[in-house]
């Protein structure tokens, strides 16, 4: 193929704009690379660089300002055969900075061509993240209070494996692009250019000055040895291929029949680290083993290592509607924090409510039937109090029988953990 250019869609840039040279350079590079058009996509975003997707006879995706790399990444992962080339201006670079950093860190096999012409051409020459502080821009004095970003330096510290900088006016621009596309990994080619419609009207900038700017900046000419590493997709697929186990849902066959299945509302009041949620799971498993419907809501702090941990469980022979607690039938009061979180329920409890409190825990006045256990006297440590309470419940045939509890524990844990959990609950059974 002699050219990838779409003859029906010629470039429409301002006379003298470097973007036109980059269009030609990219076309020359595509020809040299001999890429298949149907295996190549140009992804662009907003601004004059966002016109690039229309000029070439390849696949094209034109999206939101600064987000081109996000689509490019999705395309490349979904179809690793694609050659993905992104064009982005200094505007997109600024607004989409997070995606540039992420691409440098992740190292997907994508080529990013930055068309840096030092300002927002389309909207009136406002300053961008690369505008020199002494430039005259459409943003009055604002750029004078900031400094420009060296994207190549940022890319290097963010882990880019290929960084190149050249003038968009360079006669060997195509060579720069060819090498970048051939690089397996994320490649950044920063091109410096002239925005003749806006920037050079107010600022002295010529091809020669561009060359001098590049000469004055640290040399960037391709492979970044210190960042060299495998491409993202290859690593992702390697690690993902090791994950062969598909997690089937937790499913519990009905194996016990309750003589009189009744709705139960269970509240477990504890603290972080007391395995309240795990105890709640076991209560639910036991219910499921008798063919009951169950639901469980948990309340704990986002900072999981401290504060209350409350589990609210419904067990019912009927389908469960409202999943909140209305009238608890069983309350386990295992820590002050947990009790404080639901202190208002105690005065509402009916005389038939079964309350189990740890000896050290104070509870508000209640008309319920209160049982007290001194777990320390059983040599049971605090992280096991919730589990041990279930042994006490089974012993009193509250919620479940000891067979149901033992089955639930075996279903919830692996063999080793089950053995010690069964020992713990046994301490409270048969007393």
């Amino acid at each position: 193929m002699n050219s990838f250019l779409n003859v029906n869609r010629p470039p429409v840039f301002c006379p003298g704009c470097t973007h036109e040279k980059i269009t030609q350079g990219l076309d020359k590079a595509l020809v040299q690379l001999g890429l298949r058009p149907d295996k190549t996509v140009i992804v662009s975003d907003i601004g004059c660089s966002g016109l690039f997707d229309t000029f070439f006879n390849v696949h094209a995706l034109h999206g939101l300002h600064g987000r081109a790399l996000t689509y490019a990444f999705g395309l490349k992962l979904a179809n690793p055969e694609l050659n993905v080339i992104v064009t982005m201006g200094d505007g997109g670079l600024g607004i989409g900075g997070a995606h540039v950093l992420a691409s440098c860190r992740k190292n997907p096999d994508i080529t990013l061509i930055v068309l840096n012409n030092f300002n927002f051409g389309m909207t009136g020459g406002q300053y961008s993240v690369t505008t020199p502080a002494d430039a005259i821009t459409g943003s009055e004095f604002l750029n004078r209070a900031e400094i420009p970003l060296d994207i190549c330096a940022v890319a290097e510290s963010a882990g880019a494996t290929w960084i190149d900088r050249c003038s968009g006016q360079d006669s060997d621009l195509a060579e720069h692009i060819v090498k970048a596309v051939r690089h397996k990994g994320f490649s950044v080619v920063e091109t410096l250019g002239l925005c003749t419609g806006r920037y050079t009207k107010r600022n002295k900038l010529t091809p020669k000055i561009l060359d001098q700017m590049i000469a004055d900046l640290p040399v960037r000419n391709g492979l970044v040895e210190k960042n060299a590493r495998p491409e993202y997709g290859e690593l992702y697929r390697k690690f993902a291929a090791e994950k062969t186990h598909f997690p089937e849902p937790v499913t519990i066959e009905k194996r016990f029949s309750l003589e009189k299945p009744e709705p139960q509302e269970v509240v477990i009041l504890g603290s972080a680290g007391m395995r309240i949620v795990t105890a709640g799971d076991i209560v639910c498993y036991a219910g499921l083993s008798a063919g009951m419907n169950v639901s469980m809501k948990n309340d704990y702090n986002i900072t999981v290592l401290r504060g209350q941990s409350v589990s609210e469980i419904l067990i019912s022979p009927e389908k469960i509607g409202y999943a909140g607690i209305k009238a608890p039938t069983v309350v386990l009061a295992l820590s002050e924090e947990g009790v404080q979180r639901r202190k208002n329920i105690f005065k509402t409890l009916s005389p038939s409510t079964f309350v189990l409190k740890e000896k050290s825990v104070e509870i508000p006045d209640t008309g319920a039937e209160v049982h007290e256990i001194d777990f320390k006297s059983y040599k049971i440590s605090k992280p096991d109090w919730a589990l041990a309470s279930l042994g006490f419940l089974a012993d009193k045939e509250k919620l479940f029988t000891s067979e149901m509890l033992q089955f639930a524990i075996r279903s919830r844990f692996n063999e080793k953990v089950s053995a010690s959990a069964l020992e713990t609950v046994a301490k409270l059974m048969g007393n």
């Binding site: 034109h62 937790v250 809501k297």
Partner: protein, 371 residues
Amino acid sequence: MALSFMEGNEAIARGAIAAGCDFFAGYPITPATTIFNSMLKMLPPRGGICIQGEDEIASIGYCIGASMAGRKVLTATSGPGISLYSEQISFGIGGEIPLVIADVQRLGPSTGSATRGADSDIQFLRWGNTGGIPVIVLAPKDVQDCYVLTVHAFNYAEEFRCPVFIASNKEIGMTKESVDLGAARLPKVVERKMFGGGDYLPFSADSNMAPPFLPIGGKTLVRQTSSTHGPDGYITIDPEVIANTQQRLADKIEQAEERITLFEETMKEGTDTLVISYGVTSRAVEDAAIKLEREGKPVSTLTLKTLWPVPEKLLRKKAEPFNRIVVIEMNQGQYVGEIRRVLRDKNIDFYGQMDGVLITPSKIMEVIGNE
């Protein structure tokens, strides 16, 4: 019978797998994170891809790229993430890109409460795009719905080539419950309609339909663009072409309203009150209705599973015999306006609650009792 035990978020992941989802990208956010966790466990063994984006904008951007490569994609977030998705959602609408977005709603506004439920985003999901083009929003009421509606969501996304939202809620997403997956009636999985023939124009479609699809990376060159475009995918300023596209984007969804309408009802003969609700609130409504029937004061209930497009024909038909309509919502009244718009001649009472806790059946009984 064997019951499974899972939270709503896991059920959405399982629904996605059942629908053939093979790409997920998301960013951690309570209460939606466990959808991401589940997909990360489920997709790799099935050959699918699961990625954590550097932010929400990237996550949905990855999904847009993957969808355009032909994948079936899911992302999941909560209200603050939907805000960040917004511009990309507009792209999904205008570019007719199939996307399924699970919004596990939490109490807003803004950061709000990460671990408190509310149906905060019901209007936001519909109108949070530039252009005001219709989208499809499904609202599960329990774990089983999360499973089933997710398959519907994928089917709609593929057929109508648009973003489809699952408007879940912290109170479903993070509540574990028993569910009989075997008894769930899943719809037949719908695949994207592919273009056959020559001279592909990526946005050429029949008047009320989505265009047939070809992937980026296939033999035929494809254009996708977020800009106003003609059938060829190039920018246009032709008013007639623009008007036709705008109309088609609306028509393809609105004219399929009846087909997209999903609901449940419990109609009791001789009742004069119909209680309309959606999401987790409808469970308390059903409990209240059972109690009221026992008290000799029965009411009928209608649970909407499709919120957008508004099931106008269903609402009119179901409401027809009733003198009084009661609408209950876990917000300050986001959907009741739609119901008032559709049922203009009805007496409509409303109760909304947005305080981080579930509306109780007794509160609903009180509202129904206060004529």
